[in-house]
């Protein structure tokens, strides 16, 4: 609880948490407020915002409700962002722990694989992966995670290398603990904090990558995405700029919110560490 209080002490953290909270509320409320298909035609095409209060943000080229699309898009952005980040952190933590703990050949092989992934631009990797496997939500998540797990893997490995030398790891060996149990029960939990500190950066990057993929038409075609909305609006950028600006602003706010909240968490744990 102390930690929570400290988290809410910094104004950035409060702002970030507020943005994220409203975003999550949007995502959760989307099927309640806009129960129908957000891709259905709701009115005349290219209705500007604030003209018709049943369609507050107006309509797009095909007459779809922009506000409904925005709400449903929040679901996709958040789901993909969080799932991809979780997958990247999980893969990274496991690979990093195995490499750092086992050392020798296993370490060498795993880290060269990590190098290989890191040298390919992660967006190109995602692009190639989705193009080959085909666009669907799961594939997009996998594609993004594929390019994002190397950071957590390196941080986890570095941390594990230092923890591996601690007395309590030697102690676990002396009592005859199985090496995999030492790695995942004694070492990994203590190596996690700095890895988790990366999560805000990864979530933000994943949301942006998802938007970029959708913008290029490689998102799940059955779901509304902010990236897709921006791509849609691009063709009428001169006549109806709001179609690109509205989802763009939503995207910027989301990434900002994730960053700020993440900073707040790091800040509050840093204070805690220095006090203890």
């Amino acid at each position: 609880m102390n930690r929570l209080r400290r988290f809410f002490c910094t104004p950035e953290a409060v702002a970030g948490a507020a943005i994220l909270a409203s975003l999550i509320a949007m995502a959760l409320a989307a099927p309640l407020i806009f129960p129908g298909d957000p891709q259905a035609i709701a009115g005349p095409a290219l209705l500007p915002p604030f003209h018709d209060w049943s369609l507050p943000l107006g309509t797009d080229r095909l007459g779809r409700d922009v506000l409904a699309e925005l709400f449903h898009g929040a679901r996709t952005s958040l789901a993909v962002g969080l799932a991809a980040a979780a997958a990247a952190l999980l893969i990274g933590a496991i690979v990093g722990t195995l490499a750092g703990f086992a050392g020798g050949l296993i370490d060498e092989v795993l880290m060269r694989v990590t190098d290989a992934f890191q040298t390919v631009p992660s967006f190109l990797l995602a692009l190639a992966f989705v193009s080959i496997v085909g666009p669907s939500l799961g594939v997009v998540v996998a594609a993004i995670a594929l390019g994002a797990w190397t950071g957590p893997a390196r941080v986890a490995r570095a941390e594990v290398l230092s923890i591996r030398e601690r007395d309590y790891v030697a102690g676990a060996r002396v009592i005859g603990m199985y090496p995999l149990e030492i790695a995942f029960r004694e070492v990994l939990p203590n190596a996690l904090p700095p890895v988790l500190a990366l999560s805000s950066v990864i979530v933000a990057a994943a949301i942006l990558t998802e938007a970029a993929l959708s913008f290029l038409g490689l998102g799940d075609p059955n779901r509304v995405t902010w990236g897709g909305m921006i791509a849609e609006g691009r063709t009428v950028l001169r006549t109806a700029p709001f179609l690109s600006i509205v989802p763009g602003v939503a995207l910027v706010l989301t990434v900002l919110g994730v960053y700020l909240a993440g900073e707040g968490v790091v800040e509050s744990t840093a204070v805690r560490r220095s006090l203890s």
């Binding site: 007395d167 309590y168 030697a170 005859g176």
Partner: protein, 261 residues
Amino acid sequence: MTVLAVSNLAKRYRRGGKPFAAVDEVSFEIGPAETLALAGPSGSGKSTIAKLVLRLIEPDAGRIDFEGGDFLALSGGSLRARRARLQMVFQDPLAAFNPRATVARVLDDPLRIHAIASRAERPLRIAALLERVGLETNLATRAIHEISGGQRQRVAIARAIATRPSLIVLDEAVSALDVSVRGQILELLLDLQRQERIAYLFISHDLGVIRAIAHRVVILDAGKIAESGDARTVIANPQSAVGKALVAATPKLVRTSQEAS
């Protein structure tokens, strides 16, 4: 019969590009219920020998026989099983435990790993272990970082004796403790030795402590054995240069008006 016999043990490292011998042709034996102390200045190879004996690192040469079998020949599962008989207590009892652990978990691990007690029996075993080392049984639910240094070292000893070992390596196990606690821990170790017939490889730089608890002492210098023998005889009349220096450097409390008790 010996519990541990080490012969011609050697371990070399590279320091600044040059190879140097951390442990060089070291041989010694420990009998049942015997305490052998390893003494020497820092860098003399004491802790390296401890790690070698525990197979935490591998020697470059030499032989380790434990309970009559070639200890270096073991690997994998057979080594892990054998570890039950050869335990260790570290210098810093806080660093020796997973910072997230509770007392109960620390004591549960060896019982579970070596299938000493069933899941249902283990809480009783843990309580018995805590009592054995002079701790309250309700300490089990506490986190390791919540208890005092002396209590932690008792927990470390409880964990070491959980698997009924024949030898415990004590690496500066009382050096970080307050003097009053140190006395109690040494008493506990002696008591356990008498009752369970456990042998100790007792590593310390403090000749006063060694003299109080050890039967025999091996004095090391730069990885080699400088001299060895009966602890009190060696300390009373050291023959090697390093032995003389260690004795001379030990702080002496000169109490004139009363007998040192």
